[in-house]
Symmetry: C2
Subunit: 304 residues, 2 copies
C-alpha cells in the first residue's frame, strides 16, 4: 500500500529560543513524507527549483520516497519561509515568505498514482487540493490539512474540498476560526457536517483530540524537557498518523487512537531538532519505545 502526499517542499529559516537555522530542508510534504515512510511507502507530488540539490533529494531517497511526482522548474527557486518563535514556542511570527516556484504550483499526478489508496492533501490552496482529488480514483481515505490563511481567504473553496475529505487535521485555533465555535466538541461536530467522518484537532503542546463517529479520544503531548524547533510538528504528526493507517488498510476502519499515538510519537521526535535532523534518523525500535512511553504517561488504574 502507498500514500500520496501533495504539499510544499521548502527551505526554512527559523529562529527559536534554542537557536537559529538557515535554509533548512522543510515544507509540509517533506516532514510528512519522512514521518510516514517508517510505516508505508510514500509518493510525493511537489515542486522545487534549481536550488534543490542532490543532498536534499537524498533525504527523501533514503526514505524510499517515490519522487516521480516531484517537479523541478528550471531557472526557478524553491519555496522559502522564514519565521521566529516566541519564548512559549507556540506563537510564531512569519518574517518572510517567498513562494517562488510554489506560486504557479499545479499538481499533476503521474497517471498510475491515481489509485493510491491513501491521499494526503497537505496545507495548500483548497482549489489545488480539489484539483488533486479530481485526479484520484476512489481512494480508501482522503485526508487534508489547512491553515488560518486559507480559512480567511478561501473559506468556501475549503468547504468544497472538505466535501470530498474523510479525515481532516486542523489546529484548535483554526477550527475555532473556521466554525466560529469555541467549544471543540461543537466545533468538531460542525466540521463533520461538512464531510469528514474523522476530525483530528491538533493542540500543539497540549496534544490531540480525535473525533470519529461517536468516539472521542484525547491524548496529551509528550512532555519533552527540551523543544528545539516546533516547525513541521503538525506534518510529522499527520505523517505518522497516516503512515500507520496506510500500513493497516486490511483492517478497516483502522484504529484511529493508535494512529494518533503514532502521529504524536513522530511529532515529539520532530520538535527535538531543527529541520528533519531527528526524524530522518529514527529506527522502528525508537518509535516503538516512545509509543510505549505514551502508554506509561497516560495510563491509570480503576477506581477502588
Amino acid at each position: 500500500m502507498s500514500i500520496l502526499v501533495v504539499g510544499s517542499v521548502a527551505f526554512d529559516t527559523v529562529f527559536t529560543p534554542s537557536g537559529e537555522g538557515r535554509d533548512l530542508l522543510g515544507g509540509s510534504a517533506t516532514h510528512f513524507s519522512v514521518a510516514a515512510s517508517y510505516f508505508t511507502p510514500v509518493r510525493l507530488v511537489a515542486v522545487v527549483g534549481d536550488d534543490f540539490g542532490e543532498e536534499h533529494l537524498a533525504v527523501l531517497r533514503e526514505h524510499r520516497v517515490d519522487l516521480e511526482g516531484l517537479r523541478r522548474i528550471r531557472g526557478g527557486m524553491t519555496f522559502r519561509w522564514s519565521g521566529k518563535y516566541a519564548d512559549n514556542l507556540d506563537d510564531r511570527e512569519t518574517l518572510e515568505t517567498q513562494l517562488n516556484v510554489f506560486a504557479d504550483f499545479d499538481p499533476v499526478l503521474p497517471p498510475e498514482w491515481a489509485t493510491t489508496p491513501v491521499v494526503f492533501l497537505a496545507n495548500i490552496d483548497p482549489d489545488l487540493q480539489s484539483r488533486v482529488l479530481e485526479q484520484t480514483s476512489r481512494p480508501v481515505l482522503v485526508a487534508a490539512d489547512t491553515m488560518n490563511y486559507w480559512i480567511s481567504s478561501k473559506r468556501e473553496e475549503l468547504r468544497r474540498t472538505l466535501a470530498g475529505v474523510g479525515l481532516f487535521f486542523i489546529n484548535d485555533s483554526e477550527i475555532r476560526q473556521f466554525t466560529g465555535r469555541f467549544n471543540l466538541v461543537q466545533a468538531a461536530e460542525a466540521v463533520r457536517e461538512m464531510g469528514p467522518d474523522v476530525v483530528v484537532v491538533k493542540r500543539g503542546e497540549h496534544g490531540v483530540l480525535v473525533f470519529a463517529g461517536e468516539d472521542v479520544f484525547a491524548l496529551p503531548a509528550y512532555p519533552l524537557r527540551r523543544v528545539v524547533d516546533p516547525t513541521g510538528a503538525g506534518d510529522a504528526f499527520a505523517g505518522g498518523f497516516l503512515g500507520y493507517v496506510g500500513s493497516r488498510l486490511d483492517h478497516w476502519p483502522p484504529d484511529w487512537r493508535k494512529a494518533a499515538v503514532v502521529g504524536s510519537v513522530l511529532a515529539s521526535f520532530q520538535v527535538e531538532s531543527f529541520s528533519l535532523d531527528r526524524i530522518r534518523r529514527l529506527t522502528l525500535p525508537e518509535i516503538r519505545e516512545r509509543y510505549e512511553e505514551f502508554g506509561k504517561l497516560t495510563r491509570f488504574g480503576e477506581l477502588e
Copy 2:
C-alpha cells in the same frame, strides 16, 4: 481521616458566555470542601460576615463539612469577587474585589485540628499559609495552591511556605511566571527543588500534568459539549484530588494518578453549572461513571 482546608468563602458575581450569576456562593475553600467531601470528611477554616446566611451554611452542612473553624465577623461582610470570562472561557477579567472580612483574616485552628493528616492551603496570602502550617502537628501531607498575584507580590514568602509543602497545585501560566521557565518539565523540576515532592500543573481545558519523583502523568481534560462557568474548577480539582488521597492514607504513597483523575472528574462537573449547583448534588455512582469515561477517553492499545 480528615482534611483541613484554609481558604476563602465568598460571593461571586460572574459573567460567562452562557449567562451571568450574581452573589453566588463561591470561594476556594467552598468549592474544595464540597468536592473533597465525597471521599473524606472536611474541616473548614475560613471567615464570613453577617451576610452569610443559613442557606449558604446548609450547602456545607449537607456535605458534613465541619464548621468549627468558620469564623463569623459581626458587622462584617463576606469576601466578594466579580469577574467576566472571555468567549474562550480561559481569559478572565476581574471586575471587582471586595476583601471585606477577608482583609483581616487570621486563620486560627481549633486545637484538636492540629493533627489533621491532610492539610490544604488554598490560594491565600503565603504568610497566612505559613501561619497555618505553624499550627499543625506533623500532617501526613501538606498541599498548597497559589495565584499570579502572590507570585508577583510575595515571591519570597511563597518560597518559604513551599519549603513545608509536599504537594503543590499550580496553573501552567503561573508555574512559568514563578520559575521563569517555559518548558513545564523544567519548571516542575525548579519547583520541586523548593520543597514539594509532587507538582500538579493545572492546564484548564488542556488537562493536568503530575510530576511525582521520576513519574510523569498526563491527563487531558474531559471534553464537555458545554462549559457554563469555569469558576472554582481548580478548587474542585484539588478537592477531588485530596479527597481521594485522604481516603487512602493507609496506602502510602497514594496513587497520584488516580487522584488526578478524581480531581479532573470533580472539575468537569464543577464547570457544568454556576456556583456549586452541580457538584453539591453529585452521587458516587456519577463520579465513578465519569471516572470510567476518562478511561475510555484516554485508553489506547499496544502497537502491533
